[in-house]
């Protein structure tokens, strides 16, 4: 497990996502309303680039005729077959027992701590003054 610095925080404003490859693994990092999330960009169902899908809400029903639509923007829907996964945990809402998307923790760290290590800075130039998005892989 290594901690990778992937971008200065102001390069990944809310509503954006960044695709990158770390150690041959395709990853996407999302900023959703100021919170950061990382996912392996490969759908566990048939291998599509999962993170190209739209972020939708969660439609659930406790009783027939009652539908709650919650967690807007926190569910990613696969661009091929529409499988839905929780961006926070990678949990599948279609087949939770068989499939789970791989989620990675993402944090914001100040430049001063990032410079000390044990971080891998990829190609990002790090300065003490800024904050950085860091993904644990």
């Amino acid at each position: 497990m290594a901690r990778h610095v992937i971008a200065p925080v102001d390069e990944l404003p809310p509503g954006t996502r960044k695709f990158l490859t770390i150690d041959d693994r395709p990853i996407a990092v999302f900023n959703i309303k100021g919170e950061f999330f990382g996912l392996l960009n490969r759908c566990p169902h048939q291998g599509a680039a999962l993170c190209e899908g739209p972020l939708i809400g969660l439609a659930q029903s406790s009783d027939p005729g009652e539908i709650e639509y919650t967690r807007l923007g926190e569910i990613i829907r696969c661009p091929w077959h529409g499988w839905e996964f929780d961006i926070r945990t990678g949990q599948s809402y279609c087949e939770p027992k068989r499939f789970r998307a791989r989620a990675y923790p993402v944090n914001v760290e100040p430049g001063s701590s990032v410079m000390k290590g044990p971080y891998v800075a990829e190609t990002i130039k790090v300065s003490v003054e800024s904050d950085y998005v860091v993904v644990d892989l």
Binding site: T16, F19, P26, G47, P79, W80
Partner: protein, 369 residues
């Protein structure tokens, strides 16, 4: 909406498939509405702009409503140069044909001139689509083969279009859809089968169609998910009609392909037909054999979307019933319910059966072996 930093990640990272495959259901699209104009007489440009198409069924111009993904297609399949999914040969090559080792790709254009009430316009658009397939696709990539689309409700005009394309190596089949004005075994469609047999072309029957009949056998459903499973109902009606109208007695060398409507239901339909035929044979005395025998001898099945039972051995049992020599692998690229070639078959299938399933059956049926 989420904004992406990079335009597009690389092609979806499916496990690469080593052996060559045939993809028997690829959907080429037009980049723009006027892309067909060079292949259509000028009078039809004005006609389309002044009067439109007048289909038997409303909302035929696809997609009439959002079908799960934009244009019912994979979101990662938009060509970088613009246009809808499936409209760029170079991107299709890069995303699908090359990485998936597609040695034979059968084009099934949808949204053609089929189902238009003005039969002359229907015929003109179908013929234009056939020219367009050659010009834009098959002449540019020899792996791709076209399907002759025909003005299906006009049997005589359809037969003329098939005879015009007979012997042209750009085409490997004739294409119909499953929902026409009448069940497709009926005599108004016989000239199509006669001409196809004469030309040595199998007739594919793809899910969809715009004859005006509901997609289920009991009316219009509420949900898209009902439409998705309704295709197999339509195909069952189509197949029963073909068998019971005596199409295969009349055209004994005709082969047909059931495209994108499943195959798990085939044994059950065949058993029911046989059981009922024993009792009602005198109603259709021109049938010389049991219905199941016509189905076994004349029908091939494309695989996508694959039946996916919880216990994978059940899939293999279904295939045993139908025959490993009758299935044609298909992805449905670029549509959203695409099947990835590296993932459809469970472990434990013999090399010979895999080879038949992925490539050889298609090469034989389409005369490319």
């Amino acid at each position: 909406m989420n904004v992406q930093f990079r335009d597009r990640p690389g092609p979806a990272s499916s496990a690469s498939i080593k052996t060559a495959i045939a993809d028997c259901d690829i959907h080429p699209a037009r980049a723009t509405a006027s892309e067909l104009y060079p292949y259509l007489a000028k009078r039809w440009h004005a006609h389309l702009e002044t009067y439109g198409k007048h289909p038997y069924q409303g909302m035929m111009e696809g997609p009439p409503y959002p079908k799960a993904q934009p244009n019912a297609s994979r979101r990662d399949a938009y060509p970088p140069e613009g246009g809808p999914q499936g409209s760029s040969l170079s991107f299709m090559q890069k995303q699908h044909l090359d990485p998936n080792n597609v040695a034979l790709g059968v084009l099934n254009p949808l949204n053609t001139g089929q189902g238009i009430r003005n039969h002359d316009l229907s015929g003109a658009i179908c013929s234009a689509i056939n020219d367009w397939q050659i010009e834009k696709w098959t002449s540019k990539d020899s792996r791709l083969k076209g399907s002759v689309v025909v003005p299906n409700e006009d049997g005589v005009a359809s037969a003329a279009e098939i005879r015009k394309r007979a012997g042209d190596k750009n085409f490997v089949q004739v294409l119909l859809l499953s929902r026409n004005v009448e069940p497709i075994g009926q005599r108004r469609y016989w000239p199509i089968y006669e001409a196809a047999q004469e030309a040595g072309l199998p007739v594919g029957v793809h899910a969809f169609g715009f004859g005006g009949n509901p997609i289920t056998a009991s009316g219009w459903p509420s949900f898209y998910i009902e439409e998705m499973v309704g295709h197999s109902q339509c195909q069952q009606t189509a197949l029963a009609s073909l068998v019971l109208e005596g199409v295969f007695e009349r055209y004994p060398k005709l082969n047909m392909v059931m495209i994108e409507a499943g195959f798990g239901w085939a044994p059950s339909l065949a058993w029911r037909l046989d059981k009922t035929f024993e009792k009602l044979r005198s109603e259709v005395p021109y049938l010389k054999r049991k219905p199941s025998e016509y189905i076994s001898d004349h029908i091939w099945w494309t695989t996508q979307p694959m039946e996916d039972p919880e216990r994978r051995e059940h899939l293999l049992q279904m295939i045993e019933w139908i025959g490993w020599d009758k299935l044609l692998f298909a992805t449905d690229y670029p549509h959203w319910d695409y099947d990835d070639p590296s993932r459809v078959l469970p472990a434990g299938v013999s090399d010979a059966n895999r080879q038949a399933f992925y490539l050889d059956n298609a090469r034989k049926l389409y005369g490319l072996a």
